[in-house]
Amino acid sequence: MKELSLHLLDIAQNCLTAGAKHVEILMRDSVADDLVEIAIKDDGHGMDAELLARVTEPFTTTRTTRKLGMGLPLFQMAAEMTGGELRIESEPGVGTTVRASFVRSHIDTPPLGDMAETIVTLIHGAPDVEFLYRYETDAETVQFDTTEMREILEDVPLDEPDVLAWIRGHLRELMQN
């Protein structure tokens, strides 16, 4: 994966597979702390301790469900290569949080990449799920929340092509500032 945003797209798909209704993608990009911290939180069905223990091993996929696979091990490897780490907290019936940290100045830390496209892709794949994205730097914080859009759109679904195009444009504007 060449961008952090591609890892996030991949890991957030696990939240959807777990039946999440709310997904939060939280990033803190700090020059002062020389750290990029990422949290992906969901309210999906969660994992028990046994599954949690082996979830970052590649090839533990249960092929009947294809629920897991290379995504988490790749993300973990990317974080650890930079001196960061990956941690997962999960509770059955409550949800899962995947946290990763990257040493910001490390040469192997991937660029953030196209987060607008990642969010648009997630919404397109799961238009009924609420997504919250927050991006925090030392200076400021930007946030995008699908619940706010839904209030305006009323019964028009988020995966309408014109709506997705609007979201893409809106996110690009947000990310530029």
């Binding site: 591609l6 294809r66 696979g69 892709t121």
Partner: protein, 126 residues
């Protein structure tokens, strides 16, 4: 910001009359892009974007674009499947954004399968 919210409201008003039309249409074409780890790593995200944007730009109301998991041919990702009524599924492999635009123009609009991009055209896979 106020202006962009207005744009969103305008989209809502425009869409209201059209949604039922699309969902009830009988000649619906369905495009599915593989978006598992293998697909994403191989470049599926820009392929998906190209399909959704081309379909929107051309106003193809009979086409829906969706996402799927791993199809099981990871070495040929990005993979795109096209489902049409009364036709066999067509599987496109090693896709990119430019190929996606051509598939929209030739297959989705003019009903001519782009044979050279299909899995059947891949050497040694028969």
């Amino acid at each position: 910001m106020a202006k962009t919210i207005e744009e969103l409201r305008a989209i809502r008003e425009k869409m209201r009359g059209q949604i039922d039309l699309r969902q009830k249409g009988e000649d619906n074409l369905r495009v599915v892009v593989g978006m598992a780890t293998c697909g994403i790593a191989a470049g599926a995200r820009p392929v998906l974007h190209a399909f959704t944007e081309e379909v929107r730009r051309r106003g193809l109301n009979n086409v829906t674009v969706g996402q799927a998991g791993c199809i099981g041919l990871c070495q040929f990702e990005p993979i795109v499947e096209v489902y049409a009524p009364d036709a066999e599924k067509v599987t496109y492999v090693n896709m990119d954004a430019e190929k996606a635009a051509r598939v929209v123009a030739e297959h989705l609009v003019n009903n001519r399968v782009v044979a050279e991009y299909t899995v059947g055209a891949v050497e040694g896979l028969k």
